[in-house]
Symmetry: C2
Subunit: 330 residues, 2 copies
């Protein structure tokens, strides 16, 4: 196999032979049309591609990519206004630079993320903007392939890459100060189970700062779920069941705070009189219908420009780079 990898570029036929499938099947899978093939076949072809060292007509693809005006944004869910704000500002910045943005909703699922990465490659997009990406086999291949990517909010999962986001440790610490300065001492934390680096950093910053302030016990509750709204509702239920209602709750995202608010309401707990909620994100709707929520403000509507700047850096200079966005205290 090693010898093969060192020899002339492998062809679709080589892959087909190695995988024991037709050339047409390989071609379809390489171009992201994985629907007609079984998961088992797709996996076998993926392995064969790795083994024989096949690169889908790389030169031609790179050439066409340079001419392409398409840029793909992969985001975990459009039903979070934070994502909508990032998408809208990036779309505007790309349009000003002469590009067209393709927006793909990965629903935070590795399999969909890979399906879209393949689909976008078959559309020969010029670059990829990965908002809150999840580690996946496909993403790993794209990164190894040097695909032009900018990662947003969640850091590059495989070490290298360009990144735009906030200092989440600092944001967590600021949330702690927000509760502390309001005179609250018995505060808890609501977070998603199996949280991302964003969650971990926000918790690290919050708990670190609380301990520095002399708070030794910080009750925390986690929950799994498809949306942070559901996670917040369930985590609040668990924490209240275990510790009763505390003076304050730090929610690692505003949507988690929305979920906690609903559970509190259904439990007859008045927010913020009985329990103060602090979130992180500065959801645009807060000042309209969530006046009870104090939040660490992040200007996601300003993310577009630096994202496009870093994409340009990746295209022309290459190499790792990061742009840490400021956050405020509302």
């Amino acid at each position: 196999m090693t010898s093969k990898q060192r020899s002339a570029p492998a062809s679709l036929a080589t892959v087909a032979a190695a995988a024991g499938v037709s050339i047409a099947t390989v071609s379809r899978i390489v171009n992201g049309e994985t629907r007609r093939a079984s998961a088992e076949t797709v996996e076998r072809v993926r392995k064969a591609i790795a083994v024989v060292g096949y690169h889908p007509n790389h030169a031609g693809r790179t050439l066409r990519r340079r001419e392409s005006r398409l840029v793909a944004m992969l985001a975990p869910n459009l039903d979070n206004l934070v994502m909508a704000a990032i998408a809208a500002s990036t779309e505007a910045a790309l349009r000003a630079a002469g590009y067209v943005m393709i927006l793909c909703d990965t629903h935070d699922r590795p399999d969909l993320q890979d399906e879209y990465l393949n689909a976008m490659r078959s559309q020969v997009v010029r670059g990829y903007i990965m908002v809150a990406s999840v580690p996946s086999a496909g993403l790993k291949d794209f990164v190894a392939d040097g695909a032009p990517m900018v990662f947003v909010n969640r850091r590059p999962p495989f070490g290298r890459g360009a990144f735009v986001g906030i200092d989440n440790v600092k944001a967590g610490a600021d949330a702690a100060d927000m509760l502390w300065s309001a005179g609250l001492r018995r505060c808890g934390v609501l977070a998603p189970a199996q949280g991302s680096s964003v969650t971990r950093d926000r918790l690290k910053g919050f708990c670190g700062r609380m301990r520095a302030l002399g708070v030794t016990e910080i009750p925390a509750a986690e929950a799994a779920g498809r949306s942070h709204l559901e996670i917040g509702y369930e985590a609040a239920r668990r924490l209240a069941a275990r510790n009763g209602w505390l003076e304050g709750l730090m929610c690692v995202s505003d949507q988690i705070a929305y979920g906690a608010y609903r559970f509190a309401r259904e439990s007859g707990i008045v927010i913020p009189e009985r329990c103060k909620l602090v979130g992180i994100d500065g959801n645009p709707l807060n000042r309209w219908i969530a006046p009870w929520l104090r939040s660490i403000e992040v200007k996601y509507e300003d993310f577009g420009e630096p994202i496009v700047e870093l994409l340009d850096h990746v295209w022309h200079a290459g190499g790792d780079a990061e742009h840490i966005m400021p956050h405020g205290v509302a």
Copy 2:
């Protein structure tokens, strides 16, 4: 000119000569790259195209379009969760059918809508999903050209086309019944100035039903603005200044109700005790953080399937068609 239109297909050169610009300029503009040209030049080329009857390599384009897996959705704003719900469900339905969705944010602006229509044509998309489209010169051309389109929420602005949406007259009437059955008689209306057919139909249904119930005076306030949130805030301010606070307010969209809620709060008016708000849309966040709002529920998360079905109808059968979605009373 008439003779010219009847003669053999005009070429880029013919257009360039008629417009007095270079062939390269015409080519760029035809392919949606309007940034480098002045508005005046773009307009002159657009006129020349119409005069000499030029069709950008139609046959080739149509052929490539049939092979394309790209479908474009043009939506007025991603920062409204209603749009996000339509986009997410359509994206899922298209993916299941083997297509990739390009999402473009037109910000409800005719010029951006045209820019995106041209950009999408240059990407040879297979179909267009126009969510809440605005009448524009470019859209008129695309419709006349028979571009495969499905219109969502707002009806086709130029008479013909496929449509997916609710019965807005009925929805408005149901909102009236909602307030009436709550025992409210002195109710007002908050709406956007220069509203779309959606707004007009919802108002028509509401006022018609109210009159049928014997209500002769229906105070209404309108406001212009970039978002329904701002429109709701300003319209509520105007109505309160003119008529004081009424028993109930019908807001033609939930986001308008969100804006009215903020103004009421800032005015020390307790919602819903002092004034009941009724909206239309069933915004997904209502049950989480807007329990004070009663809304006509629209299942936008179910729009994807019928949208893709109608797109398929347009591709294969053609001709006008519509799918009226049900709405409920929360």
